[in-house]
């Protein structure tokens, strides 16, 4: 699975958005896990964060929880990370 380009990500409409702006590790991931739990399989989540760690943490979290990591958009210290819920339960 190759990471999507920024252009591909622009075409994605997120079903849910999570504001983790200004929060430090591990809060963005903790909040992500909680929200993904309430989503249905196939839905896309956008996480907005300022902690750079999310660039590595989110693909790692997706891999270990069997969800699909779609990619990250980075602009002026703001990270928009996208993932699709693929794990049931």
């Amino acid at each position: 699975m190759s990471e999507a380009t920024t252009k591909d990500l622009d075409d994605i409409t997120a079903d849910e958005s999570l504001d983790a702006y200004g929060l430090l590790c591990p809060m963005p991931i903790v909040m992500t896990a909680k929200l993904v739990d309430s989503m249905t399989v196939g839905q896309v989540l956008e996480v907005v964060a300022t902690d750079e760690g999310i660039k590595e943490d989110m693909p790692a979290w997706c891999e270990s929880t069997d969800n699909e990591y779609l990619g990250v958009k980075e602009k002026d210290g703001e990270y928009r990370v996208y993932l699709r819920k693929t794990a049931a339960g």
């Binding site: 591990p26 991931i29 903790v30 896990a33 979290w61």
Partner: protein
């Protein structure tokens, strides 16, 4: 034949090792936060997490502003100089009679970093298992009434080891 089935049993055992166990021996703000960060992160990944609080780490589980109920003058004195409670944890470095710790707390607040109290409650809410070491309670004269309701069980080293055996991540902080 017997050897082969033994090996299969080993593999099954390996695969079921999805737990994270952390011994929290230290009662210092920074170290305790590190432990809670790992615990909540692991829960986010769907792993079972057990925190085993022992020795100075038990201070985390003491009620804030609890009365000193220790019996005997030595235990009582320990109770006075080692108050405990999530709001009383010092930094492991640059505590400087409270000045350094107070500055660090201000910085953490500015960065919206959760406090030990918030991390304890978050861990609990996420299903992290909290165990208090009974040996420490005995030595320091800490009674159950001085400890928090968030504790899942009171146990000793064998309980910890049994949990650790099922864990792929096992830390001592």
């Amino acid at each position: 034949m017997a050897e082969a089935s033994e090996k299969t049993a080993d593999i099954v055992k390996m695969e079921s090792k999805n737990k994270v166990t952390i011994v929290i021996f230290s009662g210092e703000l920074d170290k305790v936060l590190a432990a809670f960060n790992i615990a909540t992160g692991a829960r986010s990944m769907g792993k079972e997490v057990t925190l085993f609080f022992t020795f100075w780490g038990l201070n985390v589980l003491r009620k804030n502003k609890a009365k000193n109920t220790a019996k005997g003058w030595m235990k009582k004195m320990f109770g006075w100089i080692n108050k405990g409670g999530t709001e009383k944890l010092p930094l492991s470095r640059f505590h400087m009679a409270g000045a350094g710790t107070s500055m660090m707390k201000k910085l953490m607040l500015q960065h919206k970093m959760p406090s030990p109290e918030e991390m304890l409650m978050l861990s609990k809410e996420m299903g992290v298992k909290i165990i208090a070491c009974t040996i420490t309670m005995g030595i320091m004269g800490i009674e159950k009434s001085a400890l928090r309701d968030e504790i899942d069980s009171y146990a000793g080293v064998v309980t910890y080891l049994a949990e650790a055996e099922k864990s792929s991540v096992n830390l001592f902080i």
